[in-house]
Amino acid sequence: MTRLRRSFGAPMAALIVLLTGTWVLGLIAAPQVIMIEQSLWKMDRPAGADELSVQIDRLYNRLDMLMLDRAAARTLRTPSATEAKLAQIDAERAALAAEIADLETAERTPVKTWTLSNYAQMGQAHLRIFAKTILASLAVTAIAFAVCYPIAFAIAKLEPPRRAALIMLALVIPYAINELLRVFAWQMILNYGGPLNAALGLVGIGPVPFLESGSGVFVAMVYAYILFMVFPLYNVLETLDTNQIEAARDLGAKTWQIHRRIVLPHARPGIAVGCIMTFMLSAGSYSVPYIMTRGTAAPWFAQLVYNRFFQASDWNVGAAYAVSLLAVCTGFVFLMMRLLKVRLRDIAK
């Protein structure tokens, strides 16, 4: 803190701390904490609501008894005695009525109950969708890596630098184009009357309901997120000294040995970034299933989360779903960092 003040002067140091604090605490930490908190409680009937209702019944009985007493009091001999008795009974009735009102609000007002039951709400069907979404995201990640590794290697190490820069610039175009457009292109291709079904029709197959069966979601996901694997891989492979590869080859290493012992170890940070990005984007993708299924195929997990909040209006269960997804993605980040032995500082560049 003193270093900060010495570097920038007190007013600016205060501003820097204020801005960073607002961002880190107000925008990043607080919403996550509140979301987790929200997932851990629900509004419930108060504890002991049953006993309360028995007690209320008893009080009502007592009230009825008082009414009988009151009727009986009218037959008392002296008017003054009647007056006194009536006043006493009325006071008792008022007290009883107040007590009943209190108990009834206590019985009716739901109380905030801490519980893990929001997480258990994910029944068989939703759990299956959760698992499907995660498995599909893992598959997208694996396919993206398998397809992109040779591409990134070829561009970074086999092309002359100037040509490599041009190729990467060309790839920026499909990469930077809005994700929705990439998805929409595949919706057209896989549509019932689309070009793919037209081509299949020529050889006497189909038409195949790609969109309605949900398989289109997977195809479009691979297409939409594959370039998030190419760029990180290319960036690390570009920094690999080609002499290392040449030396290994001169010493008699086979191609797969060169990749296993030299290229892949060097590419670890890029692999980590590529896998984390691809997995996270796929697992949390709302756009791809939303556009590709048109509501005809079974929903994906992001859609379930959306529906919990904005259609079922069950914010506690919705928060539990969101936290589950967050937990899986965070787990994947740690897994990748551990498997590939990279630190966060190597990742975010």
């Binding site: 920038f8 701390v17 509140i34 060309a170 920026v172 919706q187 984390i276 965070t330």
Partner: protein, 267 residues
């Protein structure tokens, strides 16, 4: 396999990959010029610009564009100072504290966008603020500030601190030294960070969709239209996006080339 043989194989593979990347976009572009609705390339009814006209007359698209621009302006105004403050603070902390702060600041980039969106809405709902443009701005700022922070951090690491120290030795106040030396040094990064923040905000779908409530931006509106793909006006808009992206990519390439030349001159 011989080396030239595997080289040829890689070339073919790369060609197929490029075809895979560009052909779908080509199909979408073609349908935008086809005088047939819904968007199609299998039924060709001749060339038309009618869908651009239809797009031009679409009021919801215009209001979405207005909302997008509003959100972008606010996001840039928030994310740039926050990212810069974070990067400056990071450089003045001890190793351990810097590590914790750094993790916190990059965590939004590793979080699914829908989580950033919905957690912002949950948080502000507790304060009786319902979802809308305001929550969309904050949700986007959460992760866009991470990008700007990383960009400022990279630039600051290359700064020669001797200049700043010299200014301080010569009697400048810390603020003067920052304003006259550090800020001019950061100027190119401020510009590129603003461009990146603009693009990230404009193009964002998943976070915005979960944070914006009943309002809409251009991109969320495109999303709901695409679902049923009824009119090729969407394709026309796609063509405009593609053109904008090409212009942007070329400008970016030119900028990079200039930077490289400048770096070569310097050495």
């Amino acid at each position: 396999m011989t080396r030239t043989g595997s080289g040829l194989l890689l070339r073919v593979y790369m060609g197929v990959f490029f075809l895979y990347m560009f052909l779908p976009l080509g199909i979408m572009v073609a349908a935008g010029f086809n005088a047939y609705s819904p968007p199609s390339v299998t039924v060709w009814k001749g060339f038309t610009l009618h869908w651009f006209v239809e797009l031009w007359q679409d009021d919801r698209m215009w209001s979405g564009l207005a909302n997008s621009v509003l959100i972008e302006g606010a996001v840039i105004a928030l994310a740039l100072p926050m990212g810069l403050a974070g990067a400056l603070l990071l450089g003045r902390l001890g190793t351990r504290a810097a590590g914790v702060l750094y993790t916190a600041m990059v965590s939004p980039l590793l979080t699914p966008g829908i989580i950033l969106g919905i957690s912002t809405v949950i948080f502000w709902r507790g304060l009786e603020v319902s979802a809308g443009l305001f929550t969309a701005i904050l949700a986007q700022t959460t992760f866009i500030a991470s990008y700007t922070m990383l960009m400022f951090m990279a630039r600051l690491q290359r700064q020669d601190t001797a200049l700043e120290e010299a200014a301080l030795d010569l009697g400048a106040t810390p603020f003067q030294a920052f304003r006259r030396i550090t800020l001019p040094f950061l100027r190119p990064t401020i510009l590129t960070a603003a461009v990146i923040a603009f693009l990230q905000s404009f193009e964002n779908y998943n976070t915005t969709m979960f944070a914006i409530g009943g309002a809409h931006t251009l991109v969320t509106e495109i999303g709901s239209r695409m679902r049923f793909g009824l009119s090729p006006a969407i394709n026309a808009l796609g063509i405009l996006f593609i053109l904008a992206t090409i212009v942007f990519a070329l400008a970016w390439g030119a900028l990079k080339a200039r930077e490289r030349r400048a770096a070569e001159h310097a050495t």
